[in-house]
């Protein structure tokens, strides 16, 4: 069975928070342990001091009675050495004789371990150690060998193990909640810190979103020093991209000019005398159509789709309508446009011209007396409907007419590439062009383009 790996946080904030919380918790646990150790040391020192005092008191009181029996002077069993079984004991032994505290209640501390402590041996201070009494109770003791009343005596003073442990447990009772509160404060601090610390990144992300939705051209210099190189690079890339796009467009324009001017010249040089069969003219026509087709495709390829620019729709439509009114001046067609003034499409202005130019031109070519252009928002999209009152298209041909080079009526001027390029460019932006016959008369072309968010 595979263990599922620990899932790494997907956000920088998540990473920072997870690591900080882990680190702070570990630090708090260590701090808690260190504090407990310090308390243990202090408590042990205090207990040792108490036992040392008792040892001294016992040593000072040791005497040998007239009968040669070992005894102590006065009452050395002040509390807690008076309570039997308390663990607070003392005992003096010398040459098989023994005097014990009252708390031992007649029992004795037999065979206490004698820890080797070189410092104690050299300085003659008492040695400390741990043992158990006859009831199994843990004991902490001090032991010293010394001369008292002219005899070599061994004196032990003990304290119960609980005297060492209880204060630690009691201190932990305060320490742990205090650490938990501290931990909580730290977590809040970490969250605020991450929020504050990452706010320039969040702002940057918003700016980038503005750029990609076309509301901004580039990024402003951020407050955070660390982000500046990044912003400079991003701006440079955006500029480069724009410049390259403009350069490529210009190249295509120059290429079109370079190719078509000699073709135009060739075409004008051909007439019924120089080309009696018309074959040369047909070939020139073919060359021209090929150039048109490939340049059209290349132009579609360098469209700004992907940069998601924002273009005001109304001025674009107005410009195209003004142009068409001149182009079709002699046909006296009525062109009406109803486009909301606040509509913005996520499409480069050149591409809006390319798409709407072709669609509106097509409508005007076929219109009998009027063309109507309606632009309206439709959810996240903008639909531009172009209706003419011309003959419409046969239901069978309605899909065919969008293919490159298809001309349903050769008597109307055109090259058959307009609508297909319009559709291709439109689709680059995730839009579409659809044709539909109107119920009474005419054709309705609908261009759908994504709306600029915001």
């Amino acid at each position: 069975m595979m263990m599922s790996p620990i899932r790494r946080p997907k956000t920088i904030a998540g990473r920072l928070i997870a690591f900080s919380i882990f680190y702070a918790s570990a630090a708090l646990v260590v701090a808690c342990a260190v504090l407990a150790l310090i308390v243990a040391n202090v408590v042990r020192d205090q207990v040792d001091q108490r036992l040392g005092v008792q040892l001294e008191a016992v040593r000072g009181s040791v005497k040998v009675n007239a009968d040669g029996a070992l005894a102590v002077d006065g009452n050395l069993d002040g509390p807690p050495f008076d309570r039997p079984g308390s663990g607070w004991y003392w005992q003096v032994t010398s040459a098989g004789q023994r005097v014990t505290s009252r708390s031992l209640a007649g029992a004795s501390l037999s065979n206490p371990p004698r820890p080797v402590d070189w410092r104690s041996l050299l300085t003659g201070t008492p040695r400390a150690g741990d043992a158990r009494d006859s009831r199994g109770q843990g004991l902490h003791f001090l032991i010293s060998q010394s001369l008292a009343a002219g005899k070599e005596v061994e004196i032990i003073a003990t304290a119960p193990g609980s005297a060492l442990i209880r204060p630690i447990l009691r201190s932990l009772l305060f320490l742990v909640p205090a650490m938990l509160v501290l931990g909580g404060l730290l977590v809040v601090g970490i969250l605020l810190q991450v929020r504050y610390g990452l706010s320039p990144l969040r702002q940057l992300a918003e700016k980038v979103a503005d750029v990609s939705s076309g509301q901004a051209r580039g990024l402003d210099q951020p407050q955070a020093e660390e982000l500046r190189p990044l912003v400079v690079q991003i701006n440079r890339l955006l500029e480069q991209n724009r410049a390259r796009l403009a350069e490529t467009r210009l190249q295509f324009a120059n290429m079109a000019h370079g190719l078509k001017t000699p073709v135009a010249s060739l075409y004008l040089g051909l007439n019924d005398n120089t080309d009696p069969t018309g074959e040369a003219r047909r070939q020139v026509d073919r060359i021209d159509r090929q150039i048109k087709h490939h340049l059209g495709r290349a132009r579609a390829g360098v469209s700004a789709a992907g940069l998601a620019p924002a273009t005001q729709l109304r001025p674009c439509v107005d410009d195209i309508v003004a142009m068409m009114q001149k182009l079709y001046a002699d046909r006296h067609l009525e062109i009406t446009s109803e486009v909301d003034s606040n509509l913005r499409v996520a499409c480069a202005p050149e591409d809006v011209d390319e798409i709407l130019g072709a669609v509106i031109d097509n409508a005007l070519k076929w219109a009998k007396s009027s063309v109507r252009i309606i632009g309206k928002a439709d959810g996240g999209e903008i639909a531009i409907v172009v209706q003419d009152d011309g003959p419409g298209i046969n239901a069978d041909d309605i899909t065919e007419v969008m293919n490159p080079g298809v001309r349903l009526d050769e008597s109307v001027p055109g090259d058959g590439f307009g609508l297909s390029i319009a559709r291709e460019v439109c689709e680059l932006y995730g839009g579409r062009v659809t044709l539909m016959n109107l119920s009474k008369r005419g054709l309705s072309a609908t261009v759908v383009l994504p709306k600029t968010p915001g």
Binding site: F252, A253, N254, A256, H257, G258, L259, K260, T261, P262, V263, A264, S265, L266, Y267, L268, G269, V284, D288, K292, L295, G296, R299, D319, I320, A322, M323, K326, L327, A329, D330, P349, E350, D351, D353, E354, I355, L356, G357, A358, D361, D415, I421
Partner: protein, 221 residues
């Protein structure tokens, strides 16, 4: 009808100029943008044929500088760029019509005539003045329903007067519209042409406004 042709390609400009001349147009040729700006802003033309891809100054800039100088002559743009963005840009700069290369000369001629006619304020392509009528689309004159035979110069003068019928056309303006820029014009030649025209269409149709110019009119006032 005097036309400024701006085209940098030598072959193409020769071909266009030659065929426009054969259709009675007066053609001045500019081969780059700078010359075009100069000619368009300092001389009188009925229309201009402007190629967009020009050396030095590009066509759209030429067009803009004409419009900035309040030159309202109709401009037909010749372009190799058949994308709509370029056409829209040209129209925003002030173009009136466009033709995409390659094109048919007949179409260029028809469109130029239509532009000149519309610029003179005639919505219909047949312009009539009394029993004289002019098909501005085909460039033919009829007198009392019969075709009128004219020489190139006669045609130029009469079409110029016809487009501005009932209006006095300045003599110098008439000379500018009839002769090419570098032609050596004899000051009497216009009078000679007018005299020949009067013989063909009737003396009372062309009035001489002494010291000013000529006016085509439907009949004696």
């Amino acid at each position: 009808m005097r036309v400024l042709l701006v085209e940098d390609d030598a072959d193409l400009s020769h071909q266009i100029a030659a065929s426009l001349r054969s259709e009675n147009f007066v053609v001045d040729v500019a081969r780059n943008g700078e010359d075009a700006v100069h000619a368009g802003t300092t001389e009188l033309f009925d229309a201009a044929v402007l190629d967009l891809g020009l050396p030095k100054v590009d066509g759209v800039t030429v067009l803009k500088s004409w419009r900035d100088a309040a030159r309202t002559l109709p401009v037909l743009v010749l372009t190799a760029r058949d994308g709509w963005p370029d056409k829209v840009a040209a129209f925003k700069a002030g173009a009136d019509d466009y033709l995409t290369k390659p094109f048919r000369l007949e179409e260029l001629v028809l469109r130029l005539r239509a532009l000149v006619r519309r610029a003179a304020g005639h919505a219909a392509s047949i312009i009539a003045c009394g029993d004289l009528s002019f098909d501005a689309q085909l460039g033919t004159f009829e007198l009392a329903g019969l075709p009128l035979k004219l020489t190139a110069f006669e045609w130029r003068v009469l079409s110029c007067l016809m487009l501005r019928k009932e209006v006095i056309v300045d003599r110098r303006e008439l000379i500018e519209r009839v002769y090419e820029g570098d032609a050596d014009v004899d000051s009497n030649s216009i009078e000679v042409i007018i005299a020949r025209l009067r013989r063909k269409i009737g003396t009372d149709k062309i009035e001489t406004e002494r010291g000013r110019g000529y006016m085509l009119t439907a009949g004696a006032r």
